[in-house]
């Protein structure tokens, strides 16, 4: 049995497999299907300052090897999270990271301050990359100076591990990665969804109520891998990689490209047990290749 544990900015994850925000609810829906304690960590759904109803229906379009969504950060706000959700998830036997979003710098700061008070939440993931909200979200994640500013303001109030989730909808992902590291990010997560759209030709209308939405699933995996690889060479902080991971082989590709951990996202919708199967698959790969510890895979891509 190989050592699967990874250290991410001082936090120990029992294995590199975690679940992506927005695809895992608050974890409780998955207790019907898996033992959450077998995962390295979970990233729970985005929390904003106040209640958000999200976007109108339809919010989803299936596409070739993927799907578009435009949920729009539906959640009941940080008060509700601290009061109703936190007590239910605080004792999960895994690292529970909260995804934090907002429309203004002040809102990000306010939510981060509140989450900072929660003892069993060792880190937050700043969502500056949601393509489905009119204000904030991706706007912060596509302009390096704004990405630095929001990260710095949150860094000033947030004392634990600060992760920042990057948008792929940029010309240079490394510029954005450097910008958030300059702002004080301990970890970068990439990638969020790619902006896309789908059209119903019979009705000659967009499928999504918001016209455009975020593309996820295996369709985006090559883009995500390329970005993880570029960022791995450009910055000196741990990377959490995601984008279309459907099985252990996909996960190992991200580790080789430079990710210290991975998130399983859209695949959770199709197989709610997939994250645990990926843990087992990585273990089997290590045993097969006689590798003692998973950290030996991180950034171990041979390019010569």
């Amino acid at each position: 049995m190989a050592d699967l544990s990874v250290n991410i900015s001082g936090l120990t994850f029992k294995n590199p497999v975690t679940t992506a925000s927005g695809t895992f609810g608050y974890g409780d829906e998955f207790t019907d299907f898996i033992d959450i304690g077998r995962l390295g960590g979970i990233f729970v759904k985005a929390v904003t300052g106040r209640n958000r109803d999200g976007n109108a229906y339809p919010r989803m379009a299936e596409t070739a090897s993927g799907m578009l969504n435009s949920v729009g950060l539906q959640n009941k706000g940080v008060d509700h999270f601290c009061r109703e959700i936190y007590p239910k998830i605080k004792d999960f036997n895994t690292q529970v990271i909260v995804n934090v979003s907002g429309s203004t710098v002040e809102e990000y700061v306010e939510v981060a301050e509140r989450i900072n008070e929660l003892e069993n939440i060792p880190g937050i993931e700043l969502n500056i990359s949601c393509p489905n909200v009119k204000l904030g979200g991706m706007a912060f994640g596509t302009v390096p100076s704004m990405a630095t500013e929001v990260t710095r303001e949150v860094r000033n109030v947030y004392k634990k591990v600060l992760m920042v989730k990057l948008s792929p909808n940029v010309t240079s992902i490394t510029d954005l990665a450097k910008a958030v590291v300059d702002g004080g990010a301990d970890v970068v997560t990439l990638i969020n969804t790619l902006l896309g759209m789908a059209i119903d030709v019979e009705r000659r209308r967009p499928v999504l109520s918001t016209i455009t939405g975020g593309l996820s699933g295996p369709a985006i995996k090559p883009v995500a891998l390329r970005m993880v690889w570029q960022v791995h060479k450009a910055v000196n902080v741990p990377i959490i990689g995601l984008g279309g991971i459907m099985n252990a082989t996909d996960a190992i590709e991200f580790l080789l490209a430079g990710a210290s951990a991975i998130q399983v996202g859209t695949a959770n919708f199709i197989d709610p047990q997939i994250s645990v199967k990926i843990v087992d698959g990585i273990d089997a790969y290590l045993n097969k290749h006689k590798i003692n510890k998973v950290t030996d895979l991180i950034g171990a891509l041979r390019t010569e």
Partner: protein, 259 residues
């Protein structure tokens, strides 16, 4: 019920082609069936094509605990259902079930079921269930044409069946909601359960309101996960945007923000 969900490889043990557009799959569970309630649905994985990436949701059409089987009534619509239509006995199918809430147990014996098109799917299971509660409902089912009228004998075992066809080739001519049963001044029902196209359910909901009859409808929204995490299948209700896959698919019409 919430802790009852399974992801299993079910075996196709029966395939009945009802007509060119509809078929029924009988699926055998590898272990004892979980408790399944009328109105609940299954998410079926369609393997082998990049365009059928997500699972397909289908209402559970009937449950046979003695044989450990469920049946799904499927309308051929796109690539996913075309693929399912090619399944044969002995094939296996990855199914997540049972999902969603269920129709409520009526507190009256004066019950009407209304189904249109593929929306009849959960009503056979519901009528079986009502039969066990010593309730014999009236059942109005609408089809496009005589060729598509199917399973009437099965429904008749559990209730009094009334048929409409769009072209009048069987039963009364017109849509389900045009049936003479709805034209009476006073409808002799205290509860209506309805499943079908949105426009039909909205008309039934209007009639129910007009006659002050309690009414539940089963919605069919586009969904990705089917168990409450993607938040894609929402419908506006008196409690905000709720998930059709968890808080539904069955909603009392009083809770929906329908026009």
């Amino acid at each position: 019920m919430q802790f009852n969900k399974q992801v299993q490889e079910l075996k196709v043990t029966g395939y009945t082609r009802l007509n060119p557009r509809h078929f029924v799959l009988e699926l055998l569970a590898p272990e004892k069936l979980p408790v399944i309630l009328p109105g609940q649905f299954a998410q079926v994985l369609v393997e082998g094509s990049p365009s059928t990436f997500l699972r397909r949701p289908f209402s559970i059409h009937t449950v046979d605990y003695s044989r450990n089987t469920i049946r799904l009534l499927i309308q051929i619509k796109g690539e996913g259902t075309r693929h399912l239509a090619r399944l044969k006995e002995g094939d296996s199918l990855n199914v997540m079930y049972p999902l969603g809430n269920s129709f409520s147990i009526p507190t009256t014996k004066e019950v009407l079921l209304v189904g249109g098109g593929c929306g009849v799917a959960p009503l056979l299971f519901l009528s079986q269930f009502l039969h066990q509660q010593q309730i014999r409902p009236s059942i109005v089912v609408g089809f496009r044409t005589r060729e598509e009228v199917s399973e009437i004998e099965e429904y008749s075992r559990y209730g009094d069946v009334f048929v409409t066809t769009d072209d009048g080739t069987e039963g009364e001519k017109g849509l389900v909601v045009d049936h003479s049963i709805f034209q009476k001044e006073r409808l002799p029902f205290a509860k209506i359960y309805c499943c079908g196209p949105d426009a039909m359910m909205k008309t039934v909901a209007r009639l129910a309101r007009m006659h002050r009859i309690d009414c539940e409808v089963s919605l069919e929204n586009t969904m990705a996960c089917g168990f409450g995490v993607c938040l894609c299948c929402i419908t506006p209700t008196d409690k905000g945007n709720e998930r059709v896959c968890v808080e539904g698919p069955v909603f009392n019409i009083n809770r929906l923000k329908w026009q």
